[in-house]
């Protein structure tokens, strides 16, 4: 049984039936009796003082229940939104955390900033009424680029943040790096822009606040990746309700990619307003609102320098980055360009000295926070573009240059100069595997063939590393996290042998209902159809930290394993009693308890039944079979791999065709290969999207978002890709009981550098992301003209 449905099997997903038959229950599919509908009036300006708001006419419109502004929230003592990760600048000062009201009070700081909340009996009535609100704005000059915001005389986004500088942070040893550069035979230098992205989960964010005046409980239905974190923040910091009177439900969530980690203004206001009007309030974002108000990703301006000896051995890396935070700090914004970024600048290499300086700045744009990879894609992009540029500068093959600098497979645990201790890996093996997959030996012939047809062919590499799990708590706490980053699990046997697993992780596409069930099937012998996974409701599951940072299996799955251990321990006592043996003589394997050296045995189902029907039960044994565990790992996990992109460019049109893609990734042990492969496909697609298509552009003068819909922000579609060749190598992770590393973000981390390196290889010149057809065409034409 377990060979087909246990660990290592590509079990078809248990959750699929409801999604395939239209029975998924996403937020907007939920309606509460008597609910009203909320609409946010949003700022049309990037930066303006609010001189007055007149809601008189709007208040008289048909169906209007209430209209609230920032003043109403403040009058109720509702606090602003918080950032939960403290960063200390190099001068010892804490990062600047300006006020972030859920509805703007006297100033709007980005297009889409909340100005008022209109509640009406119907959505159409709320929309109509919102148009009747008169706001008198005094427009100010905005600043949208991170680099511009640091210039002297730049507009000040917040009065209490001089020079728009949130923090000026550093990591590494500047003196060691200076020495490395002094001794270098060659230095490669690049300016690199990592373009701003809009996450664009296909389900727009939404929320319903539902207040029960009989119990004083608020139930908040929201599109969250971490409902308990939302409850904690809304209770302890925002003051919506005490934790025991606030239940947060995140039902089926249609994708997250980081954007649904954060605690947003809209859900805060819905939860608060439901009590004010004693009626459920529902808000669902339109896609244009998502573009304006979801936390964006990336947006780094970086200058990097790599020092090498005459043989191309890396001696030192110096990185200066300006990270655009947007107008306000989103929930974990500060951690992304600091500890999730600079700590990965060693990449897969033995670079002995690294120094990074990061200036995080405020601008009049939507807040920027974690998006699939969160800091780690930015790090890999810097390192891998630099390495490939260095290879070109030195005239060494990019494969050879990487191999000269890879950390050796026997060097683990390996301490980098940027505070990480890599636990395991085999980087040369990933490179060799990917080279085989792409048929590197045949590349020269393919290139010649392309050239004979007037096309330019290029190949590009990306040997990425990431730190996943976003745990242990002691480590992240020492780096400034305001929360612990463990995970919880509860394994509950029913009397008839079925199991419900309650997990603090949250699935929004990752397939936990299947992967987690496989763990129970493998270890407790329960048929997979008898295992149910429950998540996403603070009223049901133990306090959990949620899903992000490719952590769910490594941390949440390990918590399940801890609970399984407790079930086995308890089961042994029950089995000993049933078989009249001593506990020490009971052996357990896959749901069967045996008396050692005999043929006596009982099954897990019999043990569970006995635990709930404890007739003739020993007095010192508790009834029931229901165990809870919390798991806090000992280290991050370090998935790594090599991706190779092959492109063909038509210099006459600028069209980049991705003709082939090879990915060799080390995720440690794999529970469900089908799901892991799917994660790679999706991650690479987002990375390819970043490199070729996607770009969030704000007009530099007006601060208007120019790419505010799917008409302007180019989403990757089915005909933008070839089928990828994916393999995994499996160096078990020593840091958790499952030996797993996390696979959700890898593709998005690896892909941009691989693709841009391939495009550079084809064109012979470097361009920034996204490599749009126009940009590629101009570059190709310039090269051609220069040659003529």
């Amino acid at each position: 049984m377990s060979s087909e449905t246990g660990i290592g099997a590509s079990v078809r997903r248990k959750e699929d039936k409801r999604f395939l038959t239209g029975k998924g229950r996403y937020l907007d599919d939920i309606n509460r009796p008597g609910q009203a509908y909320g609409v946010f009036l949003r700022s049309p300006h990037a930066f303006a003082k609010i001189k007055s708001i007149d809601t008189t006419e709007a208040g008289k419109a048909p169906g209007v229940v209430a209209i609230y502004t920032g003043a109403d929230l403040a009058a109720d003592g509702i606090g602003g939104l918080i950032c939960g990760w403290a960063i200390t600048s190099k001068d010892g000062e804490p990062h600047k955390a300006p006020a972030h009201p859920a509805i703007a009070v006297d100033t709007v700081r980005h297009v889409g900033d909340q100005v008022a909340f209109v509640i009406a009996d119907s959505l159409a009535q709320a929309k109509d009424a919102a148009e009747l609100i008169e706001v008198d704005y005094e427009e100010l000059t905005p600043v949208v680029s991170g680099a511009d915001a640091l210039a002297s005389g730049a507009p000040q986004v917040h009065d209490d943040v001089p020079g728009n500088l949130c923090y000026d942070w550093e990591l590494g040893d500047p003196a060691a790096v200076d020495a490395a550069f002094a001794a270098a035979a060659h230095v490669t230098k690049m300016d690199i822009y990592n373009n701003r992205l809009v996450p664009n989960a296909m389900e727009p964010r939404a929320a319903i606040g539902d207040f029960d005046s009989g119990t004083d409980e608020i139930v908040l239905y929201t599109t969250s990746q971490n409902p308990h974190v939302a409850r904690l923040v809304l209770s302890a910091f925002v003051g919506i309700a005490p934790e025991h009177k606030l239940r947060v439900v995140a039902p089926d969530v249609g994708g997250g990619f980081g954007s649904k980690i954060f605690i947003y203004a809209e859900e805060t206001v819905c939860a608060w307003a439901a009590r004010k009007i004693d009626r459920p309030v529902k808000w669902t974002a339109e896609r244009s609102e998502s573009f304006l108000s979801d936390a964006h990703g990336r947006d780094h301006h970086t200058t990097a320098e790599l020092a090498m000896d005459a043989n191309g051995k890396f001696l030192g890396l110096r990185v200066n980055t300006i990270a655009n935070m947007g107008a306000y700090l989103s929930t974990f914004a500060t951690s992304v360009p600091s500890y999730l970024y600079a700590t990965l600048l060693a990449g897969q290499y033995t670079t002995p000295a690294i120094y990074a300086n990061v200036k995080a700045v405020f601008t009049n744009t939507a807040p920027v926070d974690a998006y699939r990879g969160a800091g780690r894609p930015e790090a890999t992009y810097v390192v891998e573009r630099m390495v490939e540029r260095a290879a070109r500068d030195l005239g060494i093959s990019p494969v050879e240059l990487r191999k000269r600098n890879f950390i050796a497979p026997d060097a683990y645990p390996y301490e980098t100069p940027v505070i990480m201790t890599y636990d395991s890996g085999n980087y040369p093996l990933n490179m060799d595997t990917a080279l085989k997959l792409i048929d590197y030996d045949g590349y020269a012939a393919r290139k010649a063939e392309s050239e004979s047809q007037g096309k330019k062919r290029g190949i590009g590499f990306s040997s990425f590393i990431e730190a996943c799990g976003i745990a242990p708590s002691a480590a992240v706490g020492s780096l400034g996290a305001g929360v612990g980053l463990w995970e919880s699990a509860q394994v509950r046997f029913n009397p008839t042998g079925g199991v419900t697993v309650f997990t603090g992780s949250h699935s929004h596409g990752q397939g936990h209902e299947t992967t987690f069930a496989q763990l129970i099937t493998e270890h407790l012998g329960v048929p997979i159809e008898n295992v149910e996974i429950s998540h996403g409701d603070t009223g049901k599951v133990p306090f959990g930290m949620g899903t992000y940072g490719s952590r769910s299996l490594a941390v949440g799955g390990s918590a399940i394993m801890r609970a399984v251990d407790k079930i086995v321990e308890k089961g042994k006592k029950v089995a000993a009693h049933l078989m009249e043996a001593s506990v020490e003589d009971i052996e357990h394997a896959k749901g069967v308890f045996k008396v050692a050296g005999t043929d006596k045995q009982v099954t897990m189902a019999e043990v569970a039944f006995a635990a709930y029907v404890p007739h003739n039960y020993p007095p010192d044994l508790e009834p029931g079979m229901d165990e809870t565990a919390f798991y806090d790992p000992t280290n991050f996990t370090f998935p790594a791999g090599t991706h190779i992109a092959e492109v063909e460019i038509d210099p006459e049109t600028g069209v980049v065709e991705v003709v082939d893609w090879a990915a060799s990734d080390d995720f440690g042990n794999v529970i469900n290969p089908m799901i892991v492969e799917g994660q790679i496909h999706g991650g690479v697609a987002q990375g390819v999207g970043q490199a070729l298509l996607e770009n969030a552009v704000y007009d530099s003068e007006t601060g208007q978002l120019l790419t505010g819909s799917y008409m302007d922000y180019t989403m990757p579609r089915a005909d933008d890709f070839p089928s990828l060749k994916v393999e995994t190598t499996n160096t078990p992770c020593p840091g958790n009981p499952l030996g797993v590393k996390g696979c959700g973000e890898a593709g998005a981390i690896a892909a941009p550098a691989a693709l841009m390196n391939a495009i550079t290889d084809a064109l012979g010149v470097e361009i920034d992301m996204p490599a749009t057809r126009e940009k590629v065409w101009r570059a190709a034409q310039a090269v051609q003209q220069a040659a003529e």
Binding site: R12, R13, E15, D16, K17, R18, F19, L20, T21, G22, K23, G24, R25, Y26, D28, D29, A124, N200, A201, M202, E203, P204, D252, V253, G254, G255, F257, E286, R287, S288, H508, G509, Q510, G511, M674, I675, E677, G678, I680, H681, G682, G683, V684, A685, Q686, S709, Y710, M711, M715, P716, R717, A718, D719, F721, S723, L724, G747
Partner: protein, 155 residues
């Protein structure tokens, strides 16, 4: 308010609607058929694709009133007697869905694609699904699923 009547998943339905009501709103709000999703506001994403008189249509591009007398099939109407439609079954078999939000529209589009191209190659499938955005799968397993379903549907 005007009245509209149509057949949805084989059942006659009739309701009063505001004239501005889109078909997708009619399906979701009046009929509680919430399997048809709304993923954008510019008719780009395809999460709301249904079949109208046998052809795939984005249900956000047509008013409910325009569909007087029409035969509409939604994702809820595909499975028969508890048996998944071959396209649904192929999506499950090939892991052609992750978060599931784009899936109903993707499945409805894919069925129409296979009707038009009974034996589609990879390029035809990729180009044929260009009107549906999926953010999770990278499309690779969707392509596999559609190919398998086409084979099983007798292409």
């Amino acid at each position: 308010m005007p009245n509209v009547s149509m057949t949805v998943n084989g059942k006659a339905v009739s309701a009063e609607v505001e004239p501005r009501t889109l078909l997708v709103q009619f399906l979701r709000e009046k009929l509680s058929l919430t399997g048809t999703h709304v993923g954008c506001d510019t008719s780009q994403c395809g999460a709301c694709v249904v079949h109208i008189n046998g052809k795939s249509v984005k249900a956000c591009t047509t008013l409910a009133l325009q569909n007087e007398g029409a035969e509409v099939t939604t994702i809820e109407g595909l499975a028969q007697n508890g048996e998944l439609h071959p396209m649904q079954a192929a999506f499950k078999e090939h892991h052609g869905l992750q978060c599931g939000f784009c899936t109903p529209g993707m499945v409805m589009s894919a069925i129409d694609l296979v009707k038009t191209h009974p034996n589609p190659d990879e390029k035809t499938i990729r180009e044929g699904l260009e009107g549906n955005i999926c953010r999770c799968t990278g499309y690779q397993n969707i392509v596999k699923a559609v190919k398998t379903a086409a084979d099983n549907m007798g292409g």
